[in-house]
């Protein structure tokens, strides 16, 4: 709740996307490359077509490692020198993955930008040779074809892709703070046009096969097959290979040309782009847009534009050189290290550390059809989970059902679902007003109003009807789970599942375990969360758990800063320019002033002066005037349906004036204001690790970035400390402590890190 929908905007750009591209997995190949028996690639010859099959051992995905690279080169040299071979097919025999990208460990092992540039140049050379091959090479793509995999594919003469949901093409490098370093910045603009190439490389978005065909990124599609006399996946790959072979032959015989017919619009676009003036305008537009979105915090997008521009305006030699150099530079940036760290963290938080639950949840029940309850139901039914949605009144239930339907229907409009699939998913939802069917529920998630006595009542009612094995999960942002569980007959089955709003957009799920929660209950909750597509952190119970607890001191500082006379607009711009996706004042409006006050009061009681700062009186006055934030139409800003630019709520002036406090000039520069907010956040996060609320720094970073919108370019509070230095942060805190007092006292763990520069949260 605290991390409200505002934070959803995080997903608009940056790391949250990164984390979604499931493909990139870093593997380290420790084995020495065996020259004779190839481990990643084997090839056979069918007629006069060489079929080169990639399958890296012991991994779910293929990555472009140095080993694979050199084996591929060997094989290609054999293909080129053999007189018997006239064409080749390049295919992966791994289901669901062509090549998911470059081997990240290979990049991480580099200590200088020169080394990275070197890697890039080697790859460029290999792909250039491939591009100029006189024997046509057909890339047969089934599954993820991302990053380096796409760069390889577009160097081939022809591309055939399966029209499978798993087959996606894309250049997600930007999400890791780098750029495509093996020629894509030069080839993509020629292949799909400058605008589409920018879109791909700057957003990192994954493109489905049918869309790729329309763009000209692939030449043919192959439909995935159903069962025959062997498993569908296996036969589909075989079929793809058969089709690719016929095209390889056709290309060798010159019966097929790799050129495709362009439509009228495309022809006109490419004509327009042949005019230098038009191109300049496009560069300018794109740069402006990137500047606006990244606030200059992410270097990669600007370098991508620069490299593409160099290639087009000064020729490919200059382009390739620029690509490899910028690639080297970017790989050494803090932003890139932060984003890669987040990527690794996300991968870890997509696994169930607690093992498989004894009984898989088949029947779920959600109590409360409000925004959260319906959101939870939506992300469950669309994964095929049978879900009961219960509320107490028909209008409330109807609103919730409509929310689920709308969520699914929006996907139909975006064409990611068919109306038939929507209907089938929606039929997994049963709306009701009573407890019928709860005797078969395997898990109940309550999302009723945040009120302890109500939660107690609901827990008791539910326990009267559910079976013994059923897990009771509470969706709350701040009420301690232990307190909710006090009325339970079976506290080992009670757990917290803190979803973030809007549930279908926010990736994070914070699972809260009490001392009594059993391991199997936790395993079950994590399993359900993973099936709902969530990134999961598991934390210990305590006031505010992890996410709410980190956010609250920062919010307290927000109020203090407002009291000191910094206007909401100014404050918003200071926070967004630091990398937060949503300004701090807007965040209060989005969360809801009443909720913010409720949380601040509760946690304030628990944590005392460490949560001091602003005066809760401000929130109290806002509530009494009905300024509850977005939901009531007024908060710091005025919200109107259909009006995009929000205006300041002038009625706030009197409240702000009445609570005005003198500002402290020593600690009120723009930068100081930003650091007062961030250091309080970071300090509290590290205290959570120190106190054992958090099990690992990784979960702390993932929770902060995905749940609270902590700037992704900083990689989360723990990466931030590692990359920027604990000492600097402690110095800042001490400076503010001197002015404001104990709320800025650095915690012991942070001080330890400052005292010992070798201590890092990530080794």
């Amino acid at each position: 709740m605290v991390a409200s929908r505002a934070i959803g905007s995080l997903s608009r750009f940056t790391a949250s996307r990164t984390l979604r591209c499931s493909g990139y997995i870093c593997r380290s190949f420790t084995r020495a490359s065996a020259l004779l028996t190839r481990t990643h690639i084997n090839y056979g010859v069918k007629g006069d077509v060489a079929v080169i099959r990639i399958n890296s051992p012991n991994s779910k995905v293929n990555t472009l490692s140095q080993e694979l690279h050199s084996e591929f080169m060997e094989v290609m040299n054999e293909v080129w020198s053999s007189s018997q071979i006239r064409s080749a097919v390049l295919i992966s025999t791994k289901p669901g993955c062509f090549i998911a990208g470059a081997d990240l460990n290979m990049l991480n092992a580099c200590t200088t930008s020169q080394e990275v540039t070197q890697i890039s140049q080697e790859a460029q050379k290999m792909f250039e040779k491939l591009e100029k091959s006189t024997k046509p090479v057909v890339a047969a793509i089934n599954g993820s074809c991302l990053g380096g995999g796409l760069e390889l594919a577009i160097s081939c003469q022809y591309r055939i892709a399966t029209k499978d949901k798993k087959t996606v093409l894309g250049s997600p490098e930007v999400l890791l703070g780098i750029l495509p370093g093996a020629g894509a910045t030069q080839r993509l603009p020629k292949m799909v046009g400058i605008p589409a190439a920018f879109d791909m490389m700057l957003t990192g978005r994954s493109i489905r096969a049918d869309r790729a065909k329309k763009m000209g990124l692939v030449d043919q599609l192959v439909e995935p097959l159903g069962p025959g006399v062997k498993p569908p996946e296996e036969r589909t790959i075989e079929y793809l290979e058969e089709v690719a072979i016929t095209f390889a032959k056709g290309l060798a015989d010159k019966k097929i040309t790799p050129k495709r017919d362009k439509g009228l619009v495309e022809k006109m676009t490419s004509y327009a782009l042949s005019i230098p003036f038009v191109r300049q305008q496009i560069y300018k537009k794109v740069e402006e847009k990137v500047q606006k979105q990244t606030k200059g915090l992410y270097p990669a997008p600007l370098k991508i534009i620069d490299v593409v521009k160099t290639g087009i305006e000064q020729g490919s030699n200059a382009g390739y050189l620029s690509e490899s150099q910028r690639f080297g530079e970017l790989a050494m940036t803090k932003e890139s290290k932060a984003l890669m760290g987040l990527y690794r963290g996300q991968t870890q938080c997509k696994k169930n550390k607690f093992g498989a639950p004894q009984k898989e949840v088949k029947q779920l029940a959600v109590l409360g059809a409000g925004l959260m309850g319906a959101g939870i139901a939506q992300v469950s039914v669309d994964k095929g989970l049978q879900t009961i949605l219960k509320d107490t009144t028909l209008p409330a239930l109807g609103r919730g059902q409509q929310q689920v339907f709308k969520g699914l229907n929006d996907k139909v409009k975006k064409k990611t679902l068919t109306s038939f699939e929507r209907d089938a998913m929606f039929s997994n939802l049963i709306g009701q007003l009573d407890y019928r069917g709860f005797e078969k529920a395997d898990m109940v998630i309550e999302a009723v109003f945040e009120d302890l006595s109500l939660k107690h009542r609901v827990l008791k009612e539910t326990e009267a009807v559910i079976p013994d094995h059923c897990v009771f999960a509470s969706n709350t942002s701040a009420l301690p789970i232990g307190e909710i569980a006090t009325v339970s007959k079976r506290p080992e089955k009670v757990i917290g599942m803190h979803y973030f709003s809007p549930v279908d957009k926010m990736q994070l799920l914070e699972i809260i375990t009490t001392e009594k929660t059993s391991k199997d209950t936790t395993a079950s909750a994590v399993d359900v969360g993973l099936r709902q597509g969530k990134v999961i952190i598991v934390v210990k119970d305590g006031p505010g758990f992890y996410t709410t607890r980190c956010l609250t001191p920062m919010m307290s500082e927000v109020i203090r800063i407002l009291q000191e006379g910094v206007g909401p607009k100014k404050l918003d711009s200071l926070t967004t320019s630091f990398g937060f996706p949503v300004g701090a004042a807007t965040l209060v409006d989005e969360v809801g002033v009443d909720v913010a006050k409720h949380v601040a009061e509760n946690l304030g009681k628990e944590f005392g002066e460490r949560f001091a700062g602003g005066s809760l009186e401000m929130l109290q006055q806002m509530i009494s005037k009905g300024f509850l934030g977005r939901k009531s139409g007024k908060g710091f800003y005025i919200y109107q349906e259909g009006v995009k630019n929000k205006n300041l709520n002038s009625d706030m002036d009197s409240i702000l004036a009445s609570l005005k406090m003198p500002s402290q000039p020593d600690v009120s520069s723009d930068e100081d204001i930003q650091y007062r907010l961030v250091t309080r956040f970071v300090n509290e996060a590290i205290l959570c690790l120190q106190e054992g609320v958090l099990a690992t720094p990784t979960e702390g970073d993932i929770g902060a970035v995905f749940g609270l919108g902590f700037p992704p370019c900083l990689g989360g509070p723990f990466h931030f400390v590692d990359l920027y230095g604990a000492q600097k942060i402690v110095d800042r805190l001490r400076k503010y402590e001197a002015v404001y007092g104990k709320q800025f006292t650095p915690c012991q763990l942070l001080v330890d890190h400052a005292n010992n520069p070798n201590k890092k949260f990530y080794q």
Partner: protein
């Protein structure tokens, strides 16, 4: 108006795919010619205690014609009427004995949505005989027959006429939903101002027409496309498919030439010549067939116009009675209708595998094995579909992993399989094919001397059907 017309024309070619979408093919094959011989089969009969025996007295069909040929100006009930009149003539059954009439159809003519009733009235049946229409894609007339079986077995009726009709020469092309909505609103508008306000909402795109769905509703995939994928899944080559299609056409030609297609009754089309035989039977050469381009998965697919069934107009009807009634009326029935089975499975990847699922089940239910069957009549939607079903029936892997069976049911011997041609060559009027399959099985059993026939068919929606037909002792 012009735009409306051009649009329509642009879209018309699509209708050819249409044919492919509904697959109703009952398979009826039969075998027997060779078995011949007289190995005196002393097989048990499938009569069940306390259940009435149900017989097919006889059955007829109009010649099946390519759409857009001689039947193109008719309406569906005209064709259905021709089949009913033919049946009356063939069996001389007194009209007032018929208790009930059921017809199957797929694409409904909106004016005659209960086409069974309109045809029955027009054919001179008593207006006291109720009639209803059923639809189940390509197994609609199978459904009509089994509905009749149910009515008779439960003692509700003694004499039922079942049939099916499809007229693909004309299909209901509708106004767009927006246009329809505007027209309906216009109807309700009372004043001139109201009418004008409704009309003012008109946009040119309202005029784009809506064709009956070419693709499977649940998956948005056309049937031909699914058939091509199915053939690929079972690794069936283009050559195999063309060869099978050629076999179908050759066998149909021979059956036609030898006068074996005795269920066909001539039809005098008003204003045209009398049609006496099917016109889609065109044995070609493999070379000719190899020249065709793929019709669905372009450019490398394997399903072509030559190895698919074509859009067909036609109607069929059979007279079904309780055995004692037939004997009391002095008839010599052709066959018993025995156990039957409907199945359904994944409409995406197994759309056309109905026969594979239905065959072992119906055999088990009847206590028979593949070896007991003398005549197989399977509906041929596509060569690739037939060959895929044959491979699936012959695969232990498929039986174990997808059908939950211990072992495969086995391959029907090709010499007993669709010996008088099939839907690929004779044609496939969706709603009418089921009765053709049953009559082909019955007639083959009589001609070739076998006892059991197995009819099987796939249908849109991933459904399927199989039925055992037992020859009536001579």
């Amino acid at each position: 108006m012009t735009s409306l017309l051009t649009y329509t024309f642009k879209n018309l070619p699509n209708t050819s795919k249409w044919a492919l979408r509904f697959c109703m093919r009952p398979l009826s094959s039969s075998s027997q010619v060779q078995a011949a011989a007289g190995t005196t089969k002393s097989k048990k009969t499938l009569a069940k205690p306390n259940i009435r025996n149900i017989v097919v007295v006889d059955g007829v069909r109009t010649p099946f014609l390519l759409s857009g040929t001689s039947y193109k100006d008719l309406m569906p009930h005209d064709l259905a009427r021709a089949a009913l009149s033919g049946l009356l003539h063939r069996t001389s059954v007194p009209k007032d004995v018929v208790d009930y009439i059921i017809f199957g159809t797929v694409i409904q003519e909106v004016k005659t949505s209960n086409v069974a009733r309109e045809a029955a009235l027009g054919a001179g049946f008593s207006d006291k005989t109720p009639a209803h229409t059923v639809t189940m894609a390509c197994i609609s007339s199978n459904q009509a027959m089994t509905t009749a079986v149910g009515l008779i077995a439960s003692g509700q009726c003694d004499v039922v006429v079942a049939g099916g009709v499809e007229l693909m020469s004309d299909i209901p092309i509708r106004h767009s939903r927006k246009m329809r909505k505007m027209m309906l609103d216009l109807n309700k508008a009372k004043t001139l101002a109201q009418r004008l306000s409704v009309i003012s909402k008109f946009r040119l795109n309202f005029l784009s027409p809506e064709l009956p769905a070419v693709s499977e509703f649940s998956t948005s995939e056309t049937m031909g496309h699914s058939a091509d994928r199915l053939a690929a899944a079972f690794a069936i080559s283009r050559e195999e498919q063309d060869e099978y299609a050629l076999r179908s056409h050759s066998l149909a030609k021979r059956a036609q030439d030898e006068g074996l297609l005795s269920d066909v009754v001539p039809f005098k089309v008003p204003g045209r010549d009398t049609v006496t035989q099917d016109n889609g039977i065109r044995p070609s050469s493999l070379d000719q067939m190899a020249k065709l381009k793929p019709a669905f998965i372009k450019p490398y697919g394997t399903v072509t116009a030559a190895n698919s069934s074509f859009l067909t107009d036609g109607a069929s009807a059979v007279l079904i009675m309780a055995e004692e009634k037939a004997l009391a009326m002095g008839y010599k029935p052709k066959a018993y209708l025995r156990d039957f089975m409907y199945v359904s499975q994944d409409p995406k990847d197994q759309l056309l595998l109905g026969p594979t699922y239905a065959t072992p089940k119906v055999l088990e239910k009847a206590g028979l094995t593949m070896n007991d069957i003398d005549a197989f009549e399977f509906h041929e939607a596509f060569s690739g579909q037939i060959l895929a079903n044959l491979k699936a029936m012959d695969s232990d892997w498929f039986a174990q992993n997808y059908m939950g069976r211990k072992a495969k049911v086995g391959l029907p011997p090709l010499e007993k399989f669709n010996n008088w041609g099939g839907s690929l060559s004779l044609g496939h009027p969706f709603g009418a094919t089921g009765c053709r399959l049953v009559m082909a099985a019955a007639n083959r059993l009589r001609k070739e001397g076998g006892q059991y026939g197995l009819v099987a068919a796939c249908a849109a929606g991933g459904q399927g059907h199989a039925m055992i037909v037992e020859a009536y002792p001579k």
